[in-house]
């Protein structure tokens, strides 16, 4: 497409303006949320509560209990008792029945939970409704099926539960990460103390109500809320046997050193800086959608986000033009509006981190291309954007931004594409876009990443293992491989 005229342009000035279409399902948050210990909601012994903010308004919408050491002791004790008295000795098929019941209840309450998830975390209702909640239920269904079939997952071995699992989860997919952690742990016969992220605790506590409704025996799952100190105290607790963490690489490293020298088993699912490789023969319109989905899905708060775009130099100019046009049709705003594509940034702190990294991109000489979208006056917002003229040494090419910011670079040959894609301390995911099947297979075998998508991006299924190479962590979640993190093999 060399020498093409650049004059003609498309207009997206809203000849068909979409009227506001807010999700109207009625949801009332509680005034405050307590800890969930031994099957009951209990006030924290600390007597303290912290504010939970709706990021789309910047205003406090509820209070969350802050768990202290005594609360953690109670939670761990209750999990231990359940492991020894009820859940551990229970027939595996019976455990499966509870998980099926939880899955069905999640489906029944999916709409309400989607609204709460969106209010609490800022993600678009379209995503919480069509992505998060269906997958949450699917994870419980999938693992319910495994509960009495574990010996088939590990042929010739005798799988046994590990004990009490401490699980610390992030704020980007609050309920989904809870499901990824809790479902396999319970299916394998373990009990759980879960700590949700400080900014997104609400749906985990709604999940606790579902556990009560499903009649899950007391203590099988305990939920303790709080900030980083609560999480650190939980993973350091002597009463636990297993730590599972999803979050930043920085915190993951601290956890790894905290459990070093103990008997605790550890799995970590950490950061990423995934590359989307677009070859000149790629299906371009679909590749654009994949790149857009890869980086702007959930405001880019995705550990496997395709935050580096590596595009073959011969189509760079055209591809960037297409990307720029597509950026103009993204709808940024009220997360509860059914037509919103990009919602609110999860917290003020995260917005600060994203803004600082965007600043570094500009300062280091990359060119910023921003969505022209107007932003709401209140709350935490960031225009979806991408940088061109990025080199592998730029901070925006190396550091995980965890926001709607894409770094575009080029490559000339397949070997350079692989070299650049692997030029990172992370290795969680990657995407390959080409019409040539043999190239997909060859490149996929050369990429150092745990999940590789071909001509698609961000596809998840409970049957498919997910996890990283290098500083993206170790251990897998989902599938047969994910069960291995929650069993002792005899």
């Amino acid at each position: 497409m060399k020498g093409k005229k650049t004059n003609p342009d498309l207009s997206f000035a809203a000849a068909l303006e979409y009227a506001p279409s807010p999700e109207t399902f009625p949801v009332t948050l509680k005034k405050r949320y307590e800890l969930f210990i031994n099957g009951k909601f209990v006030a924290p012994k600390t007597g303290k509560y912290f504010a939970s903010i709706n990021p789309a308004t910047g205003k406090r919408h509820t209070l969350i209990a802050e768990a202290g050491k005594a609360d953690l002791d109670a939670a761990v004790r209750s999990a231990r008792r359940a492991f020894e008295k009820t859940w551990g000795p229970m027939a595996p098929a019976e455990r499966g029945k509870y998980l099926f019941r939880i899955a069905r209840l999640l489906q029944e309450k999916a709409r309400e939970l989607a609204v709460v998830e969106t209010m609490d975390g800022g993600k678009p209702i379209r995503e919480s409704r069509d992505f998060d909640l269906p997958l949450v239920a699917a994870h419980f269904f999938h693992h319910a099926g495994w509960a009495d079939k574990l010996e088939y997952a590990f042929p010739g071995r005798k799988p046994a539960p590990i004990g009490v699992a401490a699980q610390v989860i992030p704020w980007n997919f609050p309920l989904l990460m809870a499901a990824w952690k809790i479902a396999p742990a319970l299916a394998c016969g373990n009990t759980v103390v879960l700590k949700p992220a400080e900014t997104t605790s609400v749906t985990a506590l709604h999940l606790a109500e579902i556990f009560q409704e499903a009649g899950l025996p007391p203590g099988v799952v305990n939920i303790v809320t709080g900030a980083a100190e609560t999480g650190a105290a939980l993973v350091a607790h002597p009463g636990i046997n297993k730590v599972a963490f999803t979050g930043s690489t920085e915190v993951g490293k601290r956890i790894a050193s905290s459990v070093a020298g103990t008997n605790k088993q550890l799995t970590l699912e950490l950061g990423g800086k995934a590359a989307n490789l677009v070859f000149a023969d790629a299906p371009l319109d679909e590749a654009i959608e994949g790149v857009i989905n890869g980086i702007y899905f959930n405001q880019g708060h995705v550990c496997c986000a395709g935050s580096r775009l590596l595009v073959q130099e011969s189509i760079h100019e055209e591809f960037v033009a297409r990307l720029g046009r597509r950026l103009r049709t993204l709808r940024v705003g009220d997360p509860l509006d059914k037509n919103t594509d990009v919602g609110a940034i999860n917290s003020k702190e995260q917005l600060g981190r994203i803004t600082a990294l965007i600043g570094s991109g500009i300062e280091e000489g990359a060119e910023l291309h921003e969505s022209p979208s107007a932003l709401p006056a209140e709350g935490y917002w960031c225009r979806p954007c991408f940088f061109t003229g990025v080199t592998p040494a730029h901070r925006i090419a190396r550091e995980e931004i965890f926001g709607p910011v894409l770094s575009v670079m080029t490559f000339r040959t397949p070997s350079e594409a692989v070299q650049k894609a692997n030029d990172t301390c992370y290795g969680l995911s990657a995407g390959i876009w080409t019409d040539k099947g043999s190239r997909i297979l060859k490149i996929a075998s050369q990429l150092k990443a745990g999940v590789i998508w071909a001509n698609t991006y961000n596809q998840f299924d409970p049957a498919s293992p997910f996890g990283g190479y290098k500083e993206s962590g170790f251990g897998r979640e989902g599938g047969r491989q994910g069960l291995a993190a929650y069993v002792k093999l005899g």
Partner: protein, 299 residues
């Protein structure tokens, strides 16, 4: 596909294009957006009758309906065109006199196209001579599937010449070409051969228009415009029966090609039964409740 297109087209990924099409069905059009969209859909409708049993009486009915689809209080615009077989063109032209509504005629051995080129050109000239302002031709799918793209191209160019001043819509019958790669390629081929509009289907073969296949057409005209500055129209035809589906097509056009294509000059629906459902939705928006289909004139 071995043909020297002036503007080569990229491959199309089936899973990806269908996922993108499904995305547009998630958009929610409410209130004013829905009101405007429904009326726009009526103005884009090629009200169509293509039956062996068509008579002057049937065409008269259709023309009346096209002039004023609903009672005046609904402020519903007239339809985009009336589409008939060549034998009924003269009658339709008479019925629509003074309305500004063009008559479209299928031609070139519709729907199969399996006739000698001279006959297909004669068919075209006859329809134009009778007063058709738009010609809906069919391509030779047989030639396309044989790989004779030169023949497909040259036939379209010949029909374009035979159409004279009339606008040429080129029907691909995507249900027979089957792959999205075929559809993207033939779209560009037809544009370069002189098509003013590209159209999915005759309505005689299933599947007819789908959101995904129409998306491929819209992407092609968008890219051609960006490369040349020339705008080509798109017409999905067959199988679109509900107002909800029509709005999904408009959302797709809106977010793919943008404002410029949201006009009957560049986007049309080929439909025979869609109008009734759109009317019922327009009435519901105005009256605040659904009415029985008995209250709406059929034809």
């Amino acid at each position: 596909m071995n043909f020297p297109l002036q503007h080569p087209v990229p491959p199309v990924d089936q899973v990806g294009v269908e996922a993108r099409a499904a995305f547009f069905t998630k958009r929610s059009l409410k209130n004013d957006a829905k009101r405007a969209g429904l009326r726009l859909a009526v103005s884009m409708m090629d009200l169509t009758t293509l039956e062996g049993a068509d008579t002057k009486g049937k065409v008269s009915q259709l023309c009346r309906k096209a002039r004023q689809p609903m009672p005046a209080r609904y402020q519903c615009p007239p339809c985009g065109a009336v589409c008939v077989y060549p034998n009924l063109v003269a009658h339709a032209v008479k019925e629509l006199e003074g309305s500004g509504i063009p008559v479209a005629s299928v031609a070139t051995g519709f729907p199969s196209g399996q006739y000698p080129l001279e006959l297909r050109l004669a068919d075209t000239r006859h329809a134009v001579g009778e007063g058709a302002a738009e010609i809906d031709m069919v391509i030779s799918r047989g030639a396309f599937l044989e790989g004779d793209f030169v023949r497909v191209h040259d036939e379209i160019a010949a029909v374009k010449e035979a159409s004279g001043e009339a606008h040429l819509k080129v029907i691909f019958e995507t249900g027979e070409l089957q792959t999205y790669d075929h559809v993207r390629f033939v779209s560009q081929l037809a544009i370069e051969a002189g098509a003013d509009f590209i159209k999915t289907s005759t309505g005689k073969v299933a599947p007819a228009a789908t959101l995904a296949v129409t998306l491929v057409l819209v992407e092609t005209v968008r890219d051609y415009f960006l490369a040349t500055g020339r705008r080509i129209g798109v017409k999905p035809a067959g199988g679109i029966r509900t107002a909800k589906e029509a709005l999904q097509y408009l959302v797709m056009v809106n977010e793919t090609a943008g404002d410029d294509w949201l006009t009957p000059d560049l986007f049309r629906f080929g439909a025979s039964s869609l109008l009734l459902d759109v009317e019922m939705q327009i009435a519901r928006m105005e009256e605040g409740r659904y009415q029985s289909a008995e209250y709406f004139a059929k034809g």
